[in-house]
Amino acid sequence: MTTRRTTLGGHTHEFGSLTELMARATPHRSGDVLAGCAASSEAERVAAQLALAEVPLATFLEEQVVGYDEDDVTRLILDTHDAAAFAPVSGLTVGAFREWLLDRAAAGDEVAISGLARGLTPEMVAAVSKLMRNADLVAVARRARVVTGLRSTIGLPGRLASRLQPNHPTDDAVGVTASILDGLLHGSGDAVIGINPATDSPAQTIALLQLVDEVIARYEIPTQSCVLAHVTTTLRALEQGAPVDLVFQSVAGTQGGNEGFGVTLDLLAEAVGATRELGRGVVGRNVSYFETGQGSALSAGAHLGVGGLPVDQQTLECRAYAVARHFDPLLVNTVVGFIGPEYLYDGKQVVRAGLEDHLCGKLLGLPMGVDVCYTNHTDVDGDDTDTLTLLLGAAGCSFVIAVPGSDDVMLHYQSLSFQDVLTARQVLGLRPAPEFEAWLTRMDLLGDDGRVRELTPDAPAARALLAAAR
């Protein structure tokens, strides 16, 4: 391990390893305090950032945060590193890389920024993000282009898609359908109609998959369905011939974290391969969907790296993106305010984490979305989620999650409402995915001004859709 030193204000700060340096350089958040790896003062944090700025990017290919021999995520990261893609920035330090990104972003050079993706490691993007302010996180993400597709296209410039999340406490078919229709009538659902099942069983998963598949088929909606069951449950559903558009799984940034989720890389590969074979895509072949979130490794006690030192939660989050990236997903989102105040305490921490996660995912080549959300024991409210949503819209976020009236009555937390998505699109001049936008027009749900109509009960489009709720 290399010890790095910085002198700041006459005081010399020492950082005994890259793991420690990364942690101390991270903007303050409760999860790193809980893990015992946060900077002990603001001065120490800045000293760490100064030292981190001097670290060559190439160092991250030599010096590990989580060991190669004991962790399959590290092996995946290093074994799939693309040296040619890395070449344009291979001689830069982390600090110079920040400037390189800001320079290319200001020039609108999406090709240069997006072309790096397979040459960057999670630790490199985590490091550079730690030196950035919120506006930097927005400006660079805006020019990191990632486009994916299955039956709709995600990630095009000027678009903001949404996952319609029609969860119900008992998976009741009528209740789920009502929430789906409410979302469609508000122009949501272009990223996916994705249900968290109340019961994770093959039978329930198949029933929900069939329900959404029928709604999609009946109205010829250019979108995809997903039931966010465990990957082993989805595999069982696949064996029984269920209409699976997307394999879902929560993933973490360490082998131990993934074991905590009950998954291995091989298991994910098997499920993604089986789903791709179904050939259900129209505009693309991306058939997986992953969720992540800062703090998941710590909550599983799987957050330790080289030398048994705790790794900061944002670096571990970026490592989860390497897992997702390996499977060419249609969608990836961080669930940024769900895990609780012991990981992200307040609106300031949640906003920052959402912007970091979005940028880092995009730099690594992921179709990154965000579940802008909060629980009631976190110091976050609708003002904070508005702030994050509008910043994410400005940052070119691929999609957000939306539930009826912001209230997820199954998972008991608050995400965005369908109206919040409309507001973000209107304020920022963003539009739905193009195939879905054309469908909204066909259904007479979109006005000539490009806005989703405010429907009166006797509007033909409303009646057509509501007929399904009967």
Binding site: A178, T378, Q414, A467
Partner: protein, 253 residues
């Protein structure tokens, strides 16, 4: 595609949606936002949940409620190692440990009952006395230690408390994380052989005690008494107890 007119004109189709789920569907719009009444309804629900989290546990109020419910027992007060609410929320590890210098009377008993504020002191204020009274009525023949009221408590704080009191089983009655529609829900956790370091898989849980909307006191106490008896016979709790097939009433969670 053609537009079928399956819904008779004149019906309010929004009411069809509203009647189908308790999700907040068909709220209407004001421009692209929510109508004022719908927005303020949501604010009110969130405010109730926030207040439930941040209300301080009132020991005097609980003593009076216990007396009113006919619970005539010594009530001890302890604090976790989390000194305040902000620390409690950010450091769950501190909420699982007793404050330095905490002294409890060593003894021996079949059962210790710990009432902890958890994430909803309001749930404790509203429901703990009724639940504890209903439980004690069902425990003839059990030696029950003093009641312990725990401030800034997580579930696992019951382990060092139960251990110090020499209890064979500890029951922790604790405020659950408030949802938008349930700010006053109590959870009950049973742990056999309490000692620091017990895993969550070694506990049994009954959640959503909050009459009249959730589980009632009598129903919850029946379930808990059955679990206690089974745990005492088995000499264990948690996954193994559940696997023994103790029948829980519907909704007991």
């Amino acid at each position: 595609m053609s537009v079928p007119a399956d819904v008779p004109m004149g019906d309010d189709p929004w009411s069809v949606l509203r009647g189908a789920t308790r999700a907040r569907v068909a709220l209407g719009r004001a421009g692209d936002g929510l109508p004022t009444a719908r927005w303020l309804e949501f604010r009110a629900a969130h405010a109730a949940a926030r207040d439930a989290v941040h209300t301080a546990l009132d020991a005097g109020l609980l003593r009076r409620a216990m007396a009113g419910a006919g619970v005539d027992r010594e009530l001890l007060e302890v604090h976790s190692a989390a000194p305040d609410r902000a620390t409690y929320l950010q450091r769950p590890d501190l909420g699982r440990r007793l404050a330095d210098g905490t002294e409890l009377p060593a003894g021996e008993c079949d059962l210790a009952v710990v009432v902890g504020d958890g994430l909803s002191p309001r749930a404790v204020h509203d429901h703990a006395a009724g639940l504890v009274a209903a439980l004690l009525e069902r425990l003839a023949g059990w030696s029950v230690g003093p009641l312990v009221l725990a401030h800034q408590a997580r579930v696992a704080l019951g382990d060092p408390v139960g251990e110090a009191l020499g209890a064979r089983i500890v029951v922790v009655v604790i405020g659950e994380r408030p949802g938008l529609s349930s700010a006053d829900s109590l959870g009950i956790y049973l742990t056999h052989g309490p000692r620091t370091g017990r895993a969550d898989s070694e506990r049994n849980c009954i959640s959503n005690v909050r009459p009249p909307h959730g589980l009632g006191y009598a129903q919850a106490a029946d379930t808990l008494a059955a679990l206690l008896t089974a745990s005492r016979e088995l000499g264990a709790s948690g996954v193994v107890l559940k696997d023994e097939g103790v029948a829980l009433p519907p909704g007991a969670g």
